[in-house]
């Protein structure tokens, strides 16, 4: 029975980029998950029939935050290694571990990557762009991908080494601290952006601009507390109102 080699983990890392290529409502990331895990299964199960069974098993429902899916892939590759050597449980045990990994990593990853780092990177990019520089897009992209691609590149190996300890208290606390710090920096950045919008380069904007900006901010804070209508629908409605107001003036 084979053991996983660094080249297998590298192949899994590359394939994890396509985790959501066939994302769907029924199995979500299931097919992409099986595709990413396939190099490990190929190494661990030389018997074609057994390998196909494992592959088909892994095409079942799976969903988590896509960046941290790399960690889950490493953990499950390690568990498959033990399973192939006859050291750990059967298919239903594996499904349970995947379900726990998926939901726990989604809880951490959604908060860190979607709800904190992405708005933070957007704020940084917009602030640079408001100063008239094309570097805003680069700032947005680089700021997000330092962590996102870093985790994607190192995640499989990290998950393989740590096993289910990736969900340990220490790791969770580290992620929580990072999320909090980025969130705090984001608030500071939003404050600087507001100041820049009111007086770019120290030149105050017209009073009408400042009042309308404050009105938009106030309305946005109220709107944000309700799921419907969505901010996009509000933006469409308010835009139409502005056009109507100037049209018939």
């Amino acid at each position: 029975m084979g053991r996983l080699e660094p080249a297998d983990l590298r192949r899994m890392t590359a394939r994890a980029l396509l985790l959501q290529a066939t994302f769907n409502y029924e199995r979500q990331q299931g097919l992409g998950w099986a595709w990413a895990l396939e190099p490990a299964l190929r190494r661990l199960y030389p018997d074609a029939e057994q390998r196909r069974q494992r592959l088909a098993e892994h095409t079942a429902y799976f969903n988590t935050q896509p960046t941290l899916a790399s960690l889950a892939l490493g953990v499950v590759a390690g568990l498959e290694e033990k399973r192939a050597a006859g050291e750990s449980g059967d298919g239903s045990d594996m499904a349970r571990v995947k379900a726990v990994l998926g939901s726990a990593l989604a809880a951490i990853g959604d908060r860190l990557f979607w709800l904190t780092l992405r708005p933070f990177a957007a704020c940084l990019g917009v602030l640079v762009a408001l100063a008239g520089s094309w570097l805003g897009a680069l700032a947005l992209w680089a700021c997000y991908n330092f962590l996102h691609l870093g985790m994607r590149i190192l995640g499989v190996n990290w998950g393989y080494r740590l096993g289910t300890a990736v969900l340990g208290e220490g790791q969770r606390r580290r992620f929580d601290r990072l999320t909090d710090r980025i969130g705090l920096l984001g608030v500071v950045l939003a404050g600087v952006m507001m100041a820049w919008l009111l007086a770019p380069e120290g030149e105050p904007r017209p009073v009408v601009f400042q009042i309308v900006l404050a009105a938009g901010l106030g309305l946005g804070l109220i709107v944000a507390l309700r799921p419907r209508p969505s901010p996009t629908e509000w933006a469409l409605g308010l835009g139409a109102l502005c056009v109507a107001a100037t049209w018939f003036r």
Partner: protein, 235 residues
Amino acid sequence: MNAPILATLLLGGIAALDATPVAQTLFSQPLVSATILAAIWGEWRLALEVGVVLQLLAATTLPVGARTPEDYAVGGVVGTGVALAVAAQQPFLLVADAAAVVGVFAGLVAATFGVPVVKWQRRANEGLSRWCEAEILRGNEAALGQAQRAGVVLAFAAGVGYSAACLALGVWLLGPVAGHHTLRLARAWALAQPLWIGLGLAQVLQVFIRRRLTRAAVFGVSMLGAWLLLMMTGR
């Protein structure tokens, strides 16, 4: 078809790929696509103005939970693309503001109506995954790779096709409006731009603050500090 339009459609496909099927690196965010389109069309101010508004509105539109969020990947490309194409049709400078308001509208509408397109792709992928599992059990392990390739090709084609439809409709419907009612639309932009920016910034702030008073205080202090610094060091 001229080169900038072709490049815009290609970018629509690439953005659609980055949004969900491949890597999710935020290459598909409106500010990034607006910057690339600015370089392609050679019009920086207009592209960045549209990109900033759409970016702030897109920043908190997230793929969390069961909700299929608005498709700002294609929305960003279409919004900036329509603004640039409309501005390129008119020889006078004032049209830039009219093109900006028309572009943001096109982007918002494209993002909203992009949701059914994304849902259609996901339903098509359901059939693909069932076929794939059956093929694997039948002994065809290569089906896994074939299904992944099919998913990528479908997403790219849908991105290019939807961008093309929105861009054509946007320029055809909104181009003449921007040409004939330039002054009215320019005035509307002066009103709508700060309103949209405020609305977008509020969504971002809400995500960061989450009803924590200390965070709200930090926002106030940093705004005041930055404002004072700008007033002291500004022109």
